[in-house]
Symmetry: C2
Subunit: 439 residues, 2 copies
């Protein structure tokens, strides 16, 4: 694949706003999004401000006339860029921390088990970080994890959780469930859960409903406020393109802020009434909004990297248009895959092949399609083949490859290239002749 080699835009490869790996077909935005071309400039401006002015940049940024923001408010311009992406009001969103840290912080506040309501419901095979978090939350409260954790698995022989099963579990166990916390999009299968119905079902039983949006944010059009979600957390390094380990984000429903002294939390000065923040008063008066959950002053480099990414995201069309393009592109990818001689509807013995474990309906998935290979080590061999030929995607042991064309920088040609090389790999693994077109 040669997409993006000359950085041209259009559907011929990576778009002009991102800096793509050269000579590769990058289908791995589900893991780490590509760098917006504007990011180094913004980051370097802040390094310059630090070098030239030191602490003064907190209140008198030397590059204010170049769009830079005093560090004391560095993350504020990010809020109105984030809010529409997750369907939130502006006071419902804050940029802070990292995903698991944020999830833990929010659980400390939202997971307040009582005698009768003390369970957490989430997925079996959730991203392990979430499992470790929930497990420890339960232990921190001195509860028995066998009892207090409910993990829903797909039915035997199936890969996806059925919405009906989730709803009936909530219906059945809801009275004892304190928090329901699924991922918006399952990292492994790419399944996009029915967030609205699950949230409603949880609320009907009196549960708090939160979401891990790692794979959903910037990928699909979630409507957190409209769906009345209680809380959510996400990272920004996948579909938001804010860079490795970039600063995360949280959503908290504005319902909660009507009560001014709402809920203890993991608190810090950055979440306190900003007009008195530097007066160092011992008065806890948190900002009425998600910003009130910020604990520390944020990393300036991370915040501007996110800002650059969100401005680019906006320039690329914003969530609505990007989701539309994404559906088309992933639909095209799926057509190519289903048309492949190696595609099977169900796993089988014998010859190298793959099945698709992601829902085939566009509304039930995001950009990503997960392929299950068989038999034996076929996945590993095909993955290696693709990787060596510059098709960057990711593998999940033992036998899954995830492909994700991303609307802000991938094109239809990337899908074509990815599938072409994958098929070539399958051909070789099947004992066919290897293409000599090594790049």
């Amino acid at each position: 694949g040669k997409s993006g080699e000359s950085g041209e835009s259009g559907d011929t490869g990576s778009g002009s706003n991102h800096s793509p790996p050269h000579k590769v077909t990058y289908l791995c935005g589900n893991s780490l999004g590509l760098m917006p071309k504007s990011t180094p400039l913004l980051v370097n401006k802040e390094l310059k401000a630090w070098g030239d002015r030191g602490v003064e940049s907190h209140f008198r940024h030397p590059l204010e006339n170049q769009g830079c923001v005093n560090w004391v408010d560095i993350d504020l311009p990010v809020v109105p860029l984030l809010a529409p992406i997750v369907g939130a009001r502006q006071n419902e969103v804050a940029c802070m921390g990292t995903l698991t840290m944020n999830l833990n912080s929010l659980l400390c506040s939202f997971y307040q088990p009582t005698e009768t309501r003390y369970k957490i419901l989430f997925e079996k095979h959730a991203f392990p970080s979430d499992y470790y978090a929930m497990l420890n939350q339960v232990r921190l409260h001195g509860l028995d994890e066998e009892d207090a954790i409910i993990q829903m698995a797909p039915r035997k022989g199936e890969f996806l959780l059925r919405t009906e099963d989730i709803l009936s579990t909530i219906e059945k166990e809801g009275e004892s469930i304190a928090v329901v916390c699924f991922s918006g999009i399952q990292y492994y299968t790419g399944q996009y859960f029915d967030m609205e119905r699950i949230t409603r079902a949880g609320h009907e039983k009196g549960c708090i409903v939160g979401w891990d949006l790692a794979h959903a944010v910037g990928n699909v059009e979630v409507k957190l406020h409209e769906w009345d979600v209680d809380f959510a957390a996400w990272c920004s390094y996948k579909y938001l393109n804010a860079g490795p380990g970039g600063i995360g984000g949280i959503f908290i429903n504005s319902r909660f802020f009507e009560d001014s002294n709402w809920r203890p939390r993991l608190a810090g000065w950055w979440g306190n009434n900003s007009s008195i923040r530097f007066e160092m008063r011992e008065e806890f008066e948190p900002i009425r909004g998600a910003l009130g959950f910020r604990q520390s002053n944020p990393s300036v480099l991370d915040v501007v990297s996110l800002r650059s990414a969100l401005e680019t995201y906006e320039k690329c069309g914003g969530i609505k248009k990007l989701r539309e393009k994404s559906k088309e592109m992933t639909g095209f990818l799926q057509e190519l895959l289903v048309a492949s001689e190696y595609y099977r509807e169900k796993e089988e013995e014998g010859e190298p092949h793959f099945t698709i474990i992601t829902p085939l309906k566009a509304d039930e998935r995001g950009a990503q399609i997960s392929l299950l290979f068989g038999p034996g080590d076929v996945m590993e061999r095909v993955f290696k083949y693709m990787n060596e030929r510059g098709v960057i995607c990711d593998d999940r042991k033992p036998n899954v490859i995830r492909l994700a064309p991303v609307a802000s920088y991938n094109g239809f040609r990337d899908c074509y290239e990815g599938v072409r090389v994958m098929e070539e790999g399958l051909r070789v693994v099947s004992g066919g002749r290897e293409s000599t077109n090594l790049q």
Copy 2:
């Protein structure tokens, strides 16, 4: 002041390893340390790796031959650089998160109140973020803050806490105290607490003893392991020079790791056994060490900025030598201050003057000296005068200016310049003639 104008090293101004604000006398490292000259290069290498290779840099960093580290292990080289600075064994230190978030995370794990032992002891007038954190920790456990929080204030008319008073409070109340958590160096007064004795006294009463090292790390020679401290957290943007909002650090005593299944915590995949981390197993098997408290993958930009800073710190002599130089420099600053016609031993009515509220003994303070001005708005006017003439220090309302010459980049001349301009300011405020030597 013109220190650092030409970037020369020696005792004539800012050293050659840091990028100083031009034409200023920077005495504000207690708030934000200056940028090491090597930092932009390291940060830009990671931006290049992201741009060129995307996700591949997690396992195959394109600039490995230029000293870069695969992102999957990005923070590991920082650990052996941090450990000696805080007097820790290597498995006792991790680089992660930000100070208040880390303090909260550690308290979630270490503050486990029981019926009889449920109080937190810390300072009255602690940095407010710590107050908000402790207050909310107590509330999260449903406890009454009036009862569960003990804040020690200095004696009437005094600014510093007496060690004897701290020790006797622990002696008296210790049985009901779960956690003792002071700052190593008080941000306002600059007082360096007797960490060793306070830790021992806490332990004698069965308390957990933790420290907020924001103003101590890289400033004074703490010996966390030797002093048997339980936990500590710090930020890296003051005396470590890692940049605004840079990534923080934690210490956890290795005593705790003898028990392999030690303590629930705010957990995440980054703290789990790294050999199985990407196998996505639902087995919580935390790394036996401070690294096991990491929750999320860290920001690559922040980590390399810290790494650059710590390498520079090492190059400047390391903690031992820097602390020696710091004592000399701050001693010199104190001599100049005490010799000033505006210096008074005690506050008084009438003419503009200042007193020193920081301990006068070098072993009881770090780099910083805090000056209390009077009467009325003298502090504000002097601060403005200094600031407009390029002497960068910081003010704490209503009447304190903090001056901190930093051993890794300040020189004796900076102390001289700072005091000279401050005296000039006091002269003007006193109604004397203003120097025309405006820079």
